[in-house]
């Protein structure tokens, strides 16, 4: 049975912005995976992009991936219902000035719901707040407190309720996808004439970062060392 990877629009956008959508197709050919997105991610990644002038071409490229089945759309009531519950609890995890902080969006919640309903092994998301909420909620609280210059309370009860609704899927970014692609030879075409092959993946990771993927310069250095 294929491994399921639930995909957020942030990863699609990072890859599209770097003309790296081919990684989805190459990944699917090489590995036994299915990339799933929900209606909200579809709306953002394709509809919204195609309606604009600035991102229309990227939107059309994403549409091509969906039309060809490389990225699959899931639409079912179980996902919708779970998305609503995830939204309810995630947006009660933190409070500041007696106000619940609404920290995630329907598209991000939907991706988490898909990962649970379809038993995804991985969630692909480049946006860091949702990732922090899943992996390090206390660190997210500290970040908010530091930036908002006001005490931020975290409800352990709501965090537990939120975590019970989501799957144990690991979180990856477009950077991990491309790193694995690099090791599998997806970017051989760029290696000709380059002094060291690892410079190719370094360039790709920096481009992903510049297009909004939440990866630090230090992490990129670690990747270069690891993949050298």
């Amino acid at each position: 049975m294929s491994e399921i990877i639930a995909v957020d629009s942030s990863s699609i956008i990072s890859l599209a912005g770097n003309c790296l959508l081919c990684v989805f197709e190459k990944f699917k050919k090489e590995f036994d995976v299915r990339f799933l997105i929900g209606e909200r991610v579809l709306g953002e990644s394709i509809t919204r992009a195609v309606e604009s002038r600035k991102f229309r071409l990227e939107g059309m490229r994403v549409k091509k991936l969906v039309d060809s089945g490389i990225i699959e759309i899931v639409k079912n009531q179980e996902v919708r219902d779970l998305t609503a519950k995830i939204m309810e609890h995630s947006n009660k995890c933190y409070r500041a000035k007696n106000e619940n902080l609404k920290i995630i969006h329907w598209g991000e919640a939907e991706m988490l719901a898909i990962s649970k309903v379809y038993h995804a092994s991985t969630v692909l998301i480049d946006e860091r707040i949702t990732r922090m909420l899943v992996e390090k909620p206390e660190e997210l609280r500290k970040l908010q407190e530091e930036r908002l210059h006001t005490p931020v309370e975290m409800s352990n009860e709501e965090v537990r309720a939120f975590k019970n609704l989501i799957s144990n899927a690991s979180i990856a970014r477009s950077t991990e996808l491309c790193a694995m692609g690099f090791e599998s030879g997806f970017f051989k075409e760029f290696e000709a004439g380059i002094e060291k092959n690892v410079l190719v993946i370094e360039g790709i990771l920096w481009s992903l970062k510049n297009h909004g993927c939440a990866i630090s310069g230090k992490e990129i250095k670690s990747y270069v060392k690891m993949l050298n």
């Binding site: 991985t122 480049d126 991990e176």
Partner: protein, 183 residues
């Protein structure tokens, strides 16, 4: 509007008027950031829109390229009105006066209108980036500011000051690799 939001907006708008009179555009830019905390916490449209307008004013001021002689005089009058409506928590009148200012900004003249439109659009994306830095997700800030995630990601990647906690890259990567099998 929350009481705190009302008083913060009013206070910021009065300070903007003072900065216009003192020709201090960098202070106006800084004042637009004062509203970001409330915009992040309360996620109210008033803090968000006021922050965008104030930031746009700082950019226009900076460029010093205003064709109308009485542009700043009119701006100060509207800001005074808006500050008054904010402190009285008159949401309807406040929204109307801010809209009046936004329309005035866009209608200056055709060439300027395009530039203003661009400034307002840039302001919206810039404020999305700021709110995201305060711990609100990309999708949520895009929704709040009325922009696409595409625009938000494009800006955040190039402009955002993001502090990162220590990450175990090796662990994340090997975790991902272990879950994906070759055909």
């Amino acid at each position: 509007m929350q009481k705190e939001v009302c008083s913060d907006i009013s206070s910021v708008l009065l300070k903007v008027i003072k900065s216009i009179r003192e020709n201090d555009y960098s202070e106006i830019n800084e004042l637009s950031n004062h509203l970001i905390h409330n915009a992040s916490i309360f996620q109210d449209k008033f803090s968000v829109e006021t922050s965008i307008i104030v930031y746009s004013l700082s950019k226009i001021f900076e460029k010093n390229n205003v064709p109308q002689k009485d542009f700043w005089k009119k701006t100060v009058l509207i800001l005074k009105k808006s500050a008054d409506y904010a402190i009285r928590n008159n949401e309807k009148k406040f929204s109307e006066s801010m809209l009046e200012l936004a329309v005035m900004l866009k209608k200056a003249d055709k060439d300027f209108e395009e530039e203003i439109g661009y400034v307002l659009e840039k302001a919206r994306v810039s404020k999305a980036g700021k709110i995201h830095e305060h711990g609100i997700s990309l999708g949520r800030v895009a929704e709040l500011l009325g922009i696409s995630e595409w625009e938000a990601m494009d800006y955040i990647g190039k402009n955002s000051e993001r502090k990162y906690a220590k990450e175990d890259v090796k662990k994340r990567y090997s975790n991902f690799k272990s879950r994906v099998k070759k055909r």
